[in-house]
């Protein structure tokens, strides 16, 4: 049977953007696990956010109903996405905005670059945005001679440190304050050489640098948390006020948004503006919620653009099990509760979308074979499913993608041969009993399994095997029955 058919939506193209890592997860994880500073930073940060979020969620008696509503609204959006997007385009256009459709990262980068060039300016200020990181917009702008300046504090730390974000909400979660001080001293133009690592001092240094940049930059690029099809309104939620500056001060505002972010009606915001801050930063309300509908003459940006990005999303939508990954509102609750993420950090996932949601979203956007190790980067403990404010069943999607990966291999692998042999044995109880005895009799494992051959040596490196029992349960049961009938 052919795996593709005519009209199958395409996945995100290679060679552009940040959805694929350089090495498979287990290898990248090993590097991260060997860094004790990273382990401490992550352990401290995720534990703090978990506790804070847990407290404010516990305040809401209708949290289960809110989650159910969030999930239902998103399922409705996915069921009629094309119509909602056309409605959104119509409303934004009526309000004086310009809507652009980008099939992939390459098209989106070209659209934004051309729009900036047309303004005649060579610098843009940026609101923190996952979509623009996904498509590698900063690199595309730099290649065209345009300087992008990240204005979210953590994104600024990452940008100045020539680093990669490791968390979708707290991108510099892997850095502590003394590391941040060193980055500022080394990279921030006009920084005070006596800078200390006191957090308010670090924040003040960033504020001074950013204020100057806000006031002399005429073009901004943002993402969007939500877009309302009914009104043509776009919304950004944030904590620092940098977003409000970017969305109001410049002459030109360009927003790049994944197509799945659209919501049918204004009323739907009521649900998500409760779910998002409590799940993400552990706040009852985010400090800044900015909304704009096209152009308001004489107030705010007078040139407003919306770039609707596909980049593999239609392929995700086509998968009945996997499509719920598009429900994600980028709160990062799944990362904060994930025992794997807490130990490896975000860089090990290779994509801008790390953690449990990244492990199901990245392989779907790129095609599972381009991120084949990610669906296995989970113990299937289920903590992410419980934490997700829109109830994405991440463990089930992980298992589904593992099956897709196995199905993609047309030739047998050592693993597939072993699995087939094990299944055959287990479907033949006599063979199974014989295998149980053979396993007991063999000294293959050596004493307590310390000398297991690859790939099982991953087990024996840190764990002993149990002593084989004198008798299997089924032998004991048979013997007991024989003795009872004597």
């Amino acid at each position: 049977m052919s795996e593709t058919f005519l009209g199958m939506p395409v996945t995100a193209p290679r060679g552009v953007g940040h959805l694929r890592g350089d090495e498979p997860f287990p290898k990248a994880a090993r590097t991260a696990l060997a860094n004790p500073q990273l382990r401490r930073n992550l352990g401290h940060a995720t534990t703090t956010i978990r506790a804070k979020s847990g407290r404010v969620i516990a305040e809401l008696p209708d949290w289960p109903e809110l989650r159910a509503a969030g999930s239902a609204i998103k399922a409705d959006v996915m069921a009629r996405l094309p119509a909602l997007l056309e409605q959104l385009e119509e409303r934004v256009t009526e309000a004086g905005g310009v809507v652009h459709w980008a099939a992939d990262a390459i098209e989106a980068n070209a659209i934004v670059t051309d729009l900036v060039k047309a303004t005649g300016h060579d610098r843009v200020i940026k609101v923190k945005s996952m979509a623009t990181q996904e498509i590698g917009l900063n690199e595309a702008l730099e290649a065209a001679g345009i300087e992008p300046v990240e204005t979210d504090l953590a994104e600024l730390i990452v940008q100045l440190g020539h680093d990669k974000p490791s968390h979708i909400l707290v991108p510099a979660i892997h850095r502590n304050r003394s590391e941040i001080r060193e980055i500022f001293l080394r990279e921030m133009p006009g920084v005070d050489p006596d800078l200390t690592d006191h957090p308010p001092v670090l924040a003040a240094a960033a504020r001074r640098y950013l204020r100057e940049t806000f006031l002399r930059t005429k073009v901004a690029v943002s993402g969007a948390n939500f877009a309302i099809a009914e009104t043509g309104t776009l919304a950004v939620v944030e904590s620092e006020g940098n977003g409000r500056m970017c969305l109001t001060l410049p002459e030109t505002l360009i927003t790049v948004m994944g197509v799945e972010k659209v919501l049918p009606s204004w009323r739907d915001l009521e649900v998500f503006l409760q779910l998002l801050p409590r799940s993400s930063t552990g706040e009852r309300m985010n400090p800044y919620t900015s909304m704009w509908t096209g152009v308001t003459p004489g107030d705010g940006p007078q040139n407003v653009h919306l770039v609707l990005l596909d980049n593999g999303r239609s392929a995700v939508l086509a998968d009945q099990v996997g499509r719920q990954a598009l429900h994600c509102i980028r709160c990062s609750a799944c990362m904060n509760v994930c025992p794997v993420y807490e130990r490896t950090g975000g860089h090990a996932y290779g994509s801008v979308y790390p953690g449990p949601i990244g492990a199901v979203l990245s392989p779907q956007l790129t095609g599972v074979e381009d991120n084949a190790s990610l669906p296995y980067a989970s113990s299937l403990c289920g903590a992410c499913f419980d934490a997700c404010p829109v109830k994405i069943d991440i463990p089930s999607i992980l298992v589904h993608l593992r099956a897709e990966h196995v199905a993609a291999h047309r030739r047998p692998t050592p693993e597939s041969i072993t699995m087939a042999a094990a299944a055959y044995t287990m479907d033949h109880p006599r063979l199974y009993a014989a295998a149980q005895h053979a396993a007991k009799a063999s000294r293959l494992a050596g004493r307590r399994g310390r000398g297991l051959p690859p790939p099982l040596n991953g087990w024996s490196a840190s764990r002993d095997l149990p002593d084989p029992p004198q008798q299997t349960f089924r032998d004991w049961w048979a013997q007991r029955n024989r003795e009872a009938s004597k």
């Binding site: 090993r30 296995y376 989970s378 289920g382 298992v399 199974y432 399994g449 087990w459 149990p466």
Partner: protein, 245 residues
Amino acid sequence: MRIALFATCLADTLFPAAAKATVALLERLGHEVVFPPEQTCCGQMHINTGYQRDALPLVRRHVRTFQPYDVVVAPSGSCVGSVRHQHAMVARAAQDEGLAARAEDVASRTYELSELLIDVLGVEDVGAYYPHRVTYHPTCHSLRVLRVGDKPVRLLRHVRGLDLVELPAAEQCCGFGGTFAVKNADTSTAMLADKMRHVLDTGADVCTAGDSSCLMHIGGGLSRLRTGVRTVHLAEILASTEATQ
């Protein structure tokens, strides 16, 4: 009550004490236990590693084996989780709607041990005696797939002589995760290290849980470090009496 035991392939092969204890406990409570010998494995390892098609005959075998029984029990949250949440899915993926319906029927009568004791048999005090300092690790699948909640702890609280100490960060995964422990051995070991640290912090001599698989992982780590802390299946504690101690 006549109860069919699904021993699970892991307990049958490597941890028969957990299955034997399940038999001893239920017989002591006055029930008849049967072990249908056609049973082997629920297929979870295959399903969770991506080999759903290989798991199909195992699902079919499991459903055929246990369909005749009114009540099925397994000393494993994880295997019952697979029976309840994966068997019908595997059947549907193979477009076998008849099998899916039968799998759902069997699943509706299949219980993890603490569920059987509390929800079906209505007993919290099973008359056990176990004079040890014990900490309980709630395994992920019993906690988040089956939602057994505090049922195992309620059973443990009634065990005479048992000093139950709370495990810090108990709800965090131990890092086993089936083939995850091999495919991502380094991450699995890092998770295990934290779990072991918490177990040792309690000062318990015994760490218990409802799954032999997680206990094999935690126990293997504790043994390698020569901590002296033992892992013992919940069924073995509940089966213990003055006579067996």
